[in-house]
């Protein structure tokens, strides 16, 4: 068997270990170059994944699969990790001597996500999930002397453990009925039974927690607000996408719709998520918290694509997950810069940003508009795919709710724009950014605009990646 296609995972694992060791070797001032090492290694792995995008292989009788779908998500996680590490920049100084562990944990979380996307087996998915979440438990509480951060870490640990248990329960029911945990074999061995429905519902609940779908979203705002901002970013972007990757693979392959119409359940969940996420976001005054609620709503939009379960919808899921990386990372990166500068992420801290740093304000505006789905930003093209899929599958009402609520969401995004452009602030000095952070921000903005204006390349990639589900 040719194991060379597993090279990305192996290299990532090695990178993580290397970073842990570097904490011992590069003590003191040496900590500064840890970021550079991890970013450059991740870029190397990303190149490896991209150059071998179309190659595929099945390992261990279907337990682990390298295919275009997995590769698409691996590239997504790596891009997200790289952007987050670049934009974290000055913020990581708060971690003092613990920078290498921070980067190592980020890399391990990435490895967990990659395993989730490529796993062809329920147990493997669960292992990937736990690797990712355990890394995040630690990362969330990484600001040791910060009460909010510790509280967030503990909350995430408890709630995360419960949700993992529920997910595992669901998986075990499916296993009990089908006698296998290999996803591609489950469908053939099952019949319609009440226990199956229970299993599916429990899995939806478990994954619903990971993607922060309403009503399993309660943890998200506190944890997003309390965690160090780069961690929040990666949590919002990466862990959500990983959960979607696993959801897609399990539900599209293992659980055919004719046994139990889970798509209606997901549709209702998506609708509630979109409505509640947006409505609560309306009156948030803290930008980090507002972004947390908005990312709940975003998960609802993506869920609509899975509900549709047709070419447009699934393509939309992948397309949206990728553009979401850019615009959400961009928005959080600006928030990181503002928090580093002013020590707060209240909306008032963004006042006069348009004068103090026009570039940051412009990037924030572009990213928020993309989240709101206003053309010509990428978010519009993404929503177009998602809701075209939903309407094609007969879920007109869901598309209606989604599009209406995304227009309403413009209100709270524009409040930030308003603070930036007409808010008054005592400070007039410009916010200085390090070169890597500046670079990451430009990448986020340009990608958001380019994908929006010319979506064809990304949509082609997504098309290749979902081919196996159709």
């Amino acid at each position: 068997m040719n194991y060379s296609l597993l090279a990305p995972e192996m290299l990532i694992a090695l990178t993580g270990l290397l970073l842990l060791i570097s904490g011992l070797i590069l003590a003191g001032r040496g900590q500064r170059i840890v970021g550079i090492i991890s970013v450059s290694l991740l870029v190397a792995v990303l190149l490896l994944v991209v150059t071998r995008f179309t190659e595929s292989a099945v390992y261990f009788n279907g337990v682990y699969q390298v295919d275009t779908f997995a590769n698409f998500f691996k590239a997504l996680f790596l891009i997200a990790a790289i952007l987050v590490m670049l934009s974290a920049g000055k913020y990581t100084e708060r971690f003092e001597q613990k920078q290498s562990e921070f980067h190592a944990l980020m890399v391990f979380a990435t490895l967990g996500m990659m395993v989730m996307a490529a796993a062809g087996d329920l147990i493997t998915i669960y292992i990937g999930l736990e690797l990712m979440t355990v890394s995040f438990y630690i990362l969330t509480a990484y600001l040791l002397n910060d009460e909010a951060s510790s509280e967030a870490g503990l909350k995430y640990l408890i709630l995360g453990a419960i949700s993992s248990a529920i997910l595992l329960f669901g998986m075990s029911l499916v296993f009990a009925l089908s006698g296998t945990t290999v996803i591609s074999e489950i469908a053939g061995q099952m019949s319609r039974q009440p226990a199956l429905i229970a299993g599916i519902i429990l899995m939806i609940v478990g994954f619903g927690f990971k993607i922060a779908a309403v009503p399993f979203h309660m943890w998200a705002p506190d944890i997003y607000q309390g965690a160090p901002i780069p961690v929040t970013t990666y949590l919002a972007v990466g862990s959500k996408a990983a959960a979607f990757a696993a959801l897609l693979r399990i539900f599209m392959i293992a659980l055919p719709l004719n046994q139990f119409n889970w798509s209606l359940v997901l549709a209702i969940l998506a609708a509630i998520t979109i409505i509640v996420g947006n409505l609560i976001a309306l009156n948030q005054t803290n930008v980090k918290r507002m972004l947390a609620y908005s990312s709940i709503a975003q998960a609802g939009y993506i869920l609509a694509g899975l509900v549709a379960a047709n070419a447009y919808g699934l393509k939309g899921v992948l397309f949206y997950a990728m553009l979401y990386v850019f615009c959400n990372t961009g928005a959080f990166a600006v928030a990181t810069a503002v928090e580093t500068d002013t020590g707060s992420t209240d909306r008032a801290a963004f006042n006069a940003l348009g004068r103090r740093s026009p570039m940051l304000a412009a990037i924030m505006t572009v990213c928020l508009l993309s989240l709101a789905g206003i053309p010509p930003m990428a978010g519009f093209a993404g929503k177009f795919y998602l809701f075209s899929g939903a309407i094609q599958a007969g879920y007109l009402w869901l598309a209606f709710i989604g599009l209406l609520m995304s227009m309403i969401s413009v209100y709270y995004y524009l409040l930030v724009a308003k603070a930036m452009y007409i808010g008054e602030s005592e400070r007039e000095d410009t916010i200085d950014l390090r070169l890597p952070a500046r670079f990451a921000l430009w990448v986020c903005m340009l990608a958001t605009i380019l994908i929006g204006v010319y979506p064809a390349p990304l949509s082609n990639l997504a098309q290749i990646a979902i081919q196996m589900f159709l």
């Binding site: 053309p375 809701f387 075209s388 227009m407 309403i408 209100y411 452009y421």
Partner: protein
């Protein structure tokens, strides 16, 4: 065809190019920034005039076509082209865009942001008129909303309502309208894909499909929501007067002048063209709502004291004529509706330019504060009179042509509604003449002696828009020939695909 030069792309993207140049200039170089804005809008204006002169009326149809495949799996092409209906509106956009730059010549703070956003806005509006692809149309349609919001909150004025309120109200109204529209468009796209067997966003291709009647009604209702909100159709008009009052002059000009017309254009080009049976079913409802526009808004006008609110409500009222023209569904009334959109555009833009100029100098817009301004500011008074007389449809102005044609076309279809609507002309005369009399004529007020009359760059809007009003009014065929050719082909296409014909 006439040349391989992508003339429409040039017209469309020169303002964007200007905006990029402006963003690269240092913020304190006010003069160069303004010149860049003026030159880029002038170039677009000249290009659109060139297009109009070189358009071959004997052939008609879409000309200057450009087509580049854009998103294959959605059937989207970057497709541009103009016909007799879009040409006058393209010209209108550029007339107003060019004038708007000069109407804002005295902007002193944040000049860079102002002109960059203004140019993006102009491109957005233009894009909706020159594209023949539904996806690209919607893209441009929504692109305009955000620059407007930023322009209103940064440069607007807070009088009766704060500019923040006005900006947000306008934005949310239009976006919610566009959400309905987008649902309609996607449903249409999916339906057509099911019938055609391949995805297409090309408006002409979508128009060839025979949709079931029920679906047509459903989709048309959604579109009527979206486009109706933009056109300030009663009862979705509430954003319009507040929005104009809060907005800076240039935005009021573009908004009342052309942006609203995207609604009417969309109802004709997309609603009527693609969904004729839906349009026919909904038309009587639109005609009744139009009465609300014409009469109700006119009565509100009678009691307004702020100049911008008067013009704001009067534009809601005049959009009622356009709606009646669209609802009557015959070639004469459609001709009239398009003509009226052009006419109202230049008239409203001129009105707002004059009001903006007066407000800039006097810092008030209350009718009761003024009197006898014709003594101190004869040129401004001329502008006001020209806009006012055009507004009440005086023969010799382009507005007369529009209103007259609409009612000739609509009278046979909606007799009662037409008669009620014609009273709107009388009401317009009442509030316009009363207002103009109050502010322009009468004894000279000494407190306004310090006001300077229009001069230099301030004359540009008056000359450009004033000549459009008069040329269109005295030589109506310069515009009407185009509209007639475009509307004629549109309606004959509809008749040809509907077996048995519906008209």
């Amino acid at each position: 065809m006439m040349s391989s030069l992508p003339i429409l792309s040039l017209t469309l993207f020169i303002p964007i190019l200007g905006a990029i140049v402006i963003m690269c200039l240092p913020a304190d170089r006010h003069k160069p920034i303004k010149y860049v804005a003026a030159v880029s809008t002038l170039l677009s204006l000249l290009f659109s005039l060139w297009t109009m002169i070189n358009y071959d009326l004997t052939i008609g149809g879409m000309q200057f076509v450009e087509r580049i495949p854009w998103i294959a799996d959605l059937g989207v092409n970057y497709a541009l082209g103009v016909d007799g209906i879009s040409l006058p509106l393209l010209l209108l956009t550029n007339l107003i865009g060019f004038s708007a730059v000069y109407a804002s010549w005295h902007t002193a703070a944040r000049v860079k942001e102002f002109f960059a956003l203004l140019l993006i806005l102009i491109t957005g509006v233009m894009g909706t008129f020159v594209t023949t692809d539904l996806f690209i149309f919607f893209l441009f349609y929504e692109v305009v909303v955000i620059p407007i919001y930023l322009l209103v909150i940064m440069f607007g004025s807070s009088k009766r309502v704060t500019k923040e309120y006005a900006g947000m109200k306008l934005t949310i109204y239009l976006l919610i309208g566009s959400a309905f529209l987008l649902v309609g468009l996607i449903a249409l796209f999916i339906k057509a894909q099911g019938i055609l067997g391949f995805p297409s966003m090309d408006i002409a291709t979508l128009a060839k499909v025979n949709y079931p009647v029920g679906f047509q009604i459903f989709a048309y209702v959604l579109m009527a929501f979206g486009f109706g909100t933009l056109l300030s159709m009663f009862p979705f008009h509430a954003w319009s007067p507040d929005g104009y009052a809060g907005a800076p002059t240039a935005v009021s000009m573009i908004h009342a002048g052309v942006l609203k017309k995207i609604g009417g254009y969309g109802l004709i080009r997309i609603g009527l063209f693609i969904l004729p049976l839906g349009a026919k079913f909904i038309a009587p409802i639109i005609a009744v709502l139009a009465i609300g526009n014409v009469v109700y808004a006119a009565f509100i006008c009678l009691s307004q004291k702020d100049l911008k609110y008067i013009v704001g409500y009067s534009s809601v009222s005049h959009m009622g004529y356009v709606l009646i023209g669209i609802a009557a569904l015959n070639i004469i009334s459609i001709n009239g509706a398009v003509m009226m959109m052009f006419a109202h555009g230049v008239m409203a833009a001129l009105f707002f330019a004059m009001i903006g100029n007066l407000y800039e100098k006097s810092h008030t817009r209350n009718v009761s504060d003024f009197g006898g301004l014709a003594h101190q500011m004869p040129r401004l008074a001329f502008g006001f009179m020209l806009a006012g007389l055009a507004s009440l449809g005086l023969p010799g102005t382009v507005n007369f042509i529009g209103e007259f044609t609409i009612f000739v076309g609509a009278f046979g279809v909606y007799r009662v509604i037409s008669i009620i609507a014609i009273t709107g002309i009388i009401l317009t005369a009442v509030y316009i003449l009363r207002t103009l009399g109050d502010i322009l004529f009468g004894p000279r007020l000494e407190k306004w002696d310090h006001l300077q009359d229009l001069k230099g760059p301030e004359m540009v809007p008056l000359i450009v828009l004033g000549s459009a009003i008069l040329i269109g009014g005295i030589l109506p065929f310069t515009v009407m020939d185009f509209i007639n050719s475009g509307a004629g082909q549109l309606l004959s296409h509809i008749a040809s695909i509907q077996i048995g014909g519906i008209f």
